[in-house]
Amino acid sequence: MDLLIDLIQLSIYGIVLGSILTLGAIGVSMIFGILRFAHFAHGDLMTIGAYVGLSFLVFTGAPVWWALPAGMVGAALTALLVDQAVYKHIRRTQPVILLISSFGMALVLRSVVQLVWGPNVYSYTGGIQRPWWFGDIAIVPNHVWILLAAVLIVAALHLFLTRTRMGKAMRAMSDNMDLALVTGIPAERVILITWILGGMLAAGAGVLLGMDSRLTPTMGWNILLPVFAAAILGGIGRPYGAIAGGMIIGLAMEISTLYLEPSYKPAVAFVIMVAVLIVRPQGIFKGTL
């Protein structure tokens, strides 16, 4: 009986973590689908989003949920800036060069966060939230808001990808780059939109992660591995797969704490990622890897 309650409790944590991972993984997957490289600076883009959101709250005194749109603007602009300043010039080189550059960008972004906001730990709200009790199961209000926000963001993205011309063009380019070229789809414009969306999703993940725990300069970097695990499990280049991947990785990480030290959570994600790469590298939904 206790085990069942633990399992339910951990599953709730898993879904919350999964929804955060999903937002990050969709961005990684979209960027891979269109630009064909693993964006290692994605975690630190999340951090930027979280901190920009924090600054907005501090300066304006706005209610907490404003951190989300503010962070999205900050991370989208950062992504655009990084793309135009760095990635744009090496687009036609090998993917490994882009990958290494994004690794360097990750370090740069993290240093910027340290420089601007310092090494301190922050949180959006002071104090500890009182959970709602349902029998023996506790639900923290923030977890409900996190899940709700993630669902809304994913739904908005879905509408964009399926209902707008630009969204369809993104899917087309991700499907077949050469055909997109001969069809006349303007690649550079699609790439800019991809960075804007990728940045917004990263900020979504960052702010929600900040709401779940606290803000530190390494918060995004620390979660990058599970985010990639989720993207790969879902089939990299397939944004919809990232939802399944995120949920599975999130649940696996939390439920593993029944048997393992919580500090092994990233290792659990890593093991799943390696297993997927060995057994089914294309992921659940046949990605482009």
Binding site: R165, K168, A169, D175, L179, A180, V182, T183, G184
Partner: protein, 234 residues
């Protein structure tokens, strides 16, 4: 004034020249066919015209304007549509979304254009919500041609539109191509099913090792003994 004039072009994929003096001409409303052995450079001619590889020497003119090495996007804007030999649909998009992508560069209401394409390929209307990647080879070829027709092209370039199709579907496809021609669209196509293609062609070219070998009307090429023996399998 020819619709398309390719004059003695040279070029390749970065290494040695693949095209060594290839020439093609398409007049308005004509069906022009390029035949030739595998690896002759037929697809390469199409790609060179469409700006997918560098032409080192020679000229491409479209309606008397020099468009040598124009980018694909500019070709689409001028009213030239191209269907590559392989991977010519967006597999995760629906049929209708594939068609919509064809007109990405155009603004305004797409419905009249979609109606026009559905008139040529009625089957596509019934299956417009189906994912293109899940369709048969013949259906995918229709999607690909439909996508190209969305810009209301003046010139349609098709690279082996009947490759891998059953005899019945090959007949149907050639029938559709004649309907497309009847809409006033010039068609330049590369074909392996050379006899059937030349039978509906106004003119044809035989290409070998990147250069023109023969050039004549469709019927004349079919009747030419040397062409028949060397390139049409007797």
């Amino acid at each position: 004034m020819s619709l398309l004039l390719v004059a003695d072009i040279y070029g390749g994929y970065g290494g040695a020249d693949i095209l060594k003096g290839a020439s093609v001409r398409v007049e308005r409303d004509e069906i022009v066919v390029i035949v030739g052995p595998n690896g002759a450079g037929k697809s390469t001619v199409m790609k060179a015209v469409f700006g997918l590889l560098r032409i080192r020497k020679g000229q491409v003119r479209y309606k008397d304007e020099d468009i040598t090495n124009a980018r694909p996007e500019q070709m689409v804007k001028r009213g030239v549509a191209y269907v590559p030999q392989e991977k010519n649909v967006f597999p995760s998009l629906t049929v209708q979304e594939n068609l919509e992508m064809g007109a990405f560069l155009l603004s305004g209401d797409l419905r009249p254009r979609l109606e026009k394409v559905y008139a040529v390929f009625p089957k596509l209307r019934d299956r417009r919500r189906q994912q293109a990647g899940l369709m048969s080879g013949g259906e995918r070829q229709m999607v690909a041609m439909g996508r190209a027709l969305m810009i209301d092209p003046e010139l349609l370039m098709l690279d082996e539109p009947t490759a891998g199709l059953s005899p019945l579907l090959i007949d149907e496809t050639f029938g559709r191509i004649r309907e497309i021609q009847a809409l006033g669209i010039g068609v330049l196509m590369v074909e392996q099913n050379a006899k059937q293609a030349l039978a509906i062609a106004d003119r044809g070219y035989v290409l070998a090792t990147g250069a023109n070998r023969h050039e004549d009307t469709g019927p004349n090429l079919l009747a030419n003994r040397e062409v028949a023996e060397m390139f049409l399998g007797g």
